[in-house]
Symmetry: C2
Subunit: 120 residues, 2 copies
Amino acid sequence: MTRYARLISELINRSDGHMTAEQIFLELKNTEPKVVQATVYNNLNALCRDGLIRRLSVEGSPDRYDKIQKHDHLVCKKCGSLSDISLNDLTDDLERQLGGGIISYDLKVFYLCPKCRDSQ
Amino acid sequence: MTRYARLISELINRSDGHMTAEQIFLELKNTEPKVVQATVYNNLNALCRDGLIRRLSVEGSPDRYDKIQKHDHLVCKKCGSLSDISLNDLTDDLERQLGGGIISYDLKVFYLCPKCRDSQ
DNA sequence: CTTCTATTTTAGAATTATTCTAATTATAAT
DNA sequence: ATTATAATTAGAATAATTCTAAAATAGAAG
């Protein structure tokens, strides 16, 4: 594990998650002024590949990177804002329905966040 | 509903889904040679906004567009290939856990497709 | 059926996110 | 120290999508 990989992984796991590559790059640059975007992308890809972080594809926004620890997401249908939730684990249920072979799953629940609900 | 909006919506609902904007554009061009990419993007955005199709964000691939009719997705962790599955509906369960306010949800189940499983 | 207005479409430039390439630097192994 | 391997850099390149302004079209009102 290289210096930058470690720093990026720590940053993502320490943060409240959901950071874009750009945000990670800017944050990292505060302490590591020489770092460059390609390095951030390289490391994010490697960390995802190795299962140390997870990538979150979000409509209308660049990919986000999140801690690996299992949790689900609540996504505002209107503004796209994200928050973490912990729902009952579905793995066993999915295994039963699909007959095994499941690696993981990604569950996004859409709703209207308080701000968007109020303003409409 | 304009001419192109209708054609695009029909195309997506007729297809087996999971088409990218590019694929839709090329397909549409067969019968409508004057159509242009921006029109396809404009209409896809409008159709998503109005709930007539749904957008599917997939890692490592441009957004895909799918029929609205409820179903879940099986995604190969390795090659990213997509297939439709019909799992038990979670809405009631989610409503119960979250206390209401749910609009919809998106469930992707990751596995290794037969091709990728065999080749590794 | 004309005129007016609003919306859609077009063409192509612009922007954004991400990857690629080749050179350089750092790390680890002998 | 020397070599081999992998990581990082800089910046160009690519891919996906959006924007802009002009032109075309459709629908409403007379």
